[in-house]
Amino acid sequence: MKKHQLVIFGAAALLIMFAVGGYFYKQQRSKKTQAMAKQTESPLSRAYAQTLGPADAKVVIVEFFDPGCETCRMFAAPVKRLLDSYPGKVRLVKRYAPFHDGADKVVQILEAARLQGKYWETLDLLFEGQHRWADHHSPNPDMVWQLVASLGLDMERLRRDVNDPKILAIVRQDITDAQALGVHKTPGFFVNGKTMSSFGLEQLQALVAQEVEAQYER
């Protein structure tokens, strides 16, 4: 065998080992999360989580997000459109992975607004004003208070509710679950427990399309 052939062969062997190893590792992890998705209570399915779409939808997108994350903001609208394009078939479950400093406090405000029935309005507003309150240098939860004041919420109740032990427990449980599921980046998506092969909106759309077909059209 000639020298350059040996090197090409060696490099190819190493890269194939890397790819195959990665495939099996992700495969293994995906099996675990798919099993979780079928349970009623697991790190992937929590009864307390905010959802969008019919309860009997057979395709469930679980999204771990951080209200301070720019990419999460950019995914918000396309994911809602994705639900609309398969009416009645897809449900979205919102979970929290507040990795940015101070983001957990913002999640508490969001959950407190949910108690007053304004989850989606508040979330939209938080994303809209994100560039103002979620600067990477100095996240500013105080500015969030100014922001949500425009929503017509009972602000006194909101200030009381943010420290509700139930809300704190939700945030803590979501962070623990994100860690258990290996969500290190946001947004982190699971479609019926399956993860995308690589990160991207198109990959998510493809995965949802594939799951809708598997659940409804065979």
């Binding site: 000639k2 020298k3 350059h4 490099a11 190493l14 080992m17 990665g22 980046k185």
Partner: protein
């Protein structure tokens, strides 16, 4: 073979083995961080600093074969070995904990991997650096 420069002799094979080793170690490190998504600690990054350039360096020494590469690669591999040894001592607790302040981010004492109860990432790193240094020293002696 008619072309002598393209046939494999022992020295070239040794350097090739070295290259395979450092390439495998670099990819293994990337596997930990990119596939398993374990965040590298600061000492891990310093070991990467002395490991990742080696595949490039040794590849340059393979085509055409150039014994000089051994001399250039050895000090880099040696520094990597020192960092890996320090990391392992810190990891198993020989270097007492707490001599340095706690900082944000990944602690260098975090034990991510644990095969058979003693195989850790710093141990794998130290083994890789030790092997590559041994191979390079053998090669240097043969070429002297």
């Amino acid at each position: 073979m008619a072309d002598a420069t393209d046939s494999v002799d022992t020295n070239w094979a040794l350097l090739f083995a070295c290259w395979l080793l450092v390439s495998a170690a670099s990819l293994g490190s990337l596997f930990f961080s990119e596939v398993m998504e374990l965040p590298p600690c600061t000492l891990c990054w310093y070991q990467r600093i002395f490991m990742f350039p080696l595949p490039i360096l040794l590849a340059m020494g393979l085509f055409p074969f150039d014994a000089k590469v051994v001399r250039f690669a050895l000090p880099i591999a040696f520094l990597g070995w020192v960092v890996a040894a320090y990391h392992l001592l810190l990891h198993v607790g020989v270097i007492p904990e707490g001599v340095s302040p706690c900082s944000r981010g990944v602690s260098c004492k975090t034990k991510y991997l644990d095969i058979f109860g003693f195989v850790s990432i710093p141990l794998l790193s130290l083994l890789a650096f030790s092997s590559v240094i041994t191979l390079l020293l053998i090669l240097r002696r043969r070429l002297a």
